[in-house]
Symmetry: C2
Subunit: 231 residues, 2 copies
């Protein structure tokens, strides 16, 4: 039976695709992926080499505004199109950077598809574990808590959560300076490490303390080991 499969392509290194992802991408008759007009698609750059010769490619522009409504509309339209293709007998895959359900672009698509067609998810290597591996920095061991904290959250929320445990701050962008100041105030800046473009050719790993004051990291994860870990 035909189905829709949402596939995690991992953080950037094409070798971090799973065998399952490769098999399903190669067999798919329709391959959809997010792509902004005039820009490259990271998911397709990672996985495109495995697409079969007769497959239909469907780059899809998903608007990324603060207002979530245009994106919701785009996902709803994409869902309708993909559902129709599955219902007419084709195997469809949607490529997502990282893991489909870990802060992934597949979540609104999955919700928009609902139960209309058979749907599966293939997990992918997350930017979190990739950053940790590349920095050789263990995040959490034994009974330690690990928190994933989106940097756009207000200072008081981040401060309350940072406590003692290990944390990974994501979506840094224009929040980087504020988060950096907060970590310094909490005494958590010294062990923190910035990993940019994990596993990609332009990867850069920098202790937070050495990160230039006038720079902002891109596509990055800020790893904050547990207080007192590895001592």
């Amino acid at each position: 039976m035909s189905r829709l499969t949402l596939i995690g392509t991992g953080p950037g290194d094409p070798e971090l695709l799973t065998l399952k992802a490769v098999r399903l991408i190669a067999a798919a008759e329709v391959v959809a992926f997010p792509q902004k007009p005039g820009e490259a698609s990271l998911a397709f750059e990672i996985a495109g080499g495995h697409v079969g010769p007769g497959a239909q490619l469907m780059p899809t522009d998903i608007p990324m505004n603060v207002d979530p409504e245009p994106a919701r509309l785009a996902y709803r339209r994409l869902a309708d199109t993909l559902v129709e293709k599955v219902q007419t007998g084709r195997d469809v895959v949607y490529l997502c950077e990282g893991d489909p359900l870990f802060y992934g672009s597949a979540i609104p698509l999955l919700e928009a598809v609902g139960g209309r067609v058979a749907t599966s998810i293939v997990p992918g290597i997350t930017s979190l574990t990739a950053a940790s591996a590349e920095a050789r920095l263990p995040l959490a061991l034994r009974n330690a808590i690990l928190k994933v904290l989106p940097a756009p959250l207000p200072d008081e929320v981040l401060e309350a959560e940072l406590g003692r445990g290990a944390a990974a701050l994501i979506k840094l962008g224009r929040h980087f300076d504020r988060v950096r100041a907060l970590l310094a105030r909490l005494g958590r800046a010294e062990s923190a490490v910035v990993v940019e473009h994990a596993t990609q050719a332009r990867q850069r790993i920098t202790p937070l303390a050495d990160f230039a004051a006038d720079e902002r990291p891109y596509f990055s994860t800020l790893l904050v080991p547990a207080r007192g870990a590895h001592s």
Copy 2:
């Protein structure tokens, strides 16, 4: 130059190995992995099919007691052996279930190796993202916080952390009944899902509400979506 590579083999499905893991396992001259005497090794069951014909296999018994000292000693001995093999010119891999640095058995090994030989880490699919994918249950979206909470932590710590955000409870074992009661008290039990043996043949996915009162889940992750998510 020879090196030691700690390789994540993923949660159980051999197809969730990455292309990089397969390539490095096939090329390795020494393949070490955790294995209890008289038991199967999950990491080797997942990845063993890719080991090259001339490779030396090194099953290693790592004691899993509440007292961490015997395990620390075993990792130190293993580290010395693997370092010696790399120093005499062999490529060595150590296979870990899941991801090496996400609550992984590679962390104490990495620490025991120190900087004695060149060491790399290949990230693996975590049981967390695998459970989420198999249950088709998104964990965290946009600016939601995601917490990984080991179940052995005391009730007051878990209660303070559970707040509103999404959580994955790990290491449930004999703590299952206590955690279940806590989630019920906090009004978080109804949306929670138990995923046992994610991606393995014996996988079972059960809403927490339907889990038999006299049973305990094994090798499982308890997914607790954010309050009000997907509504």
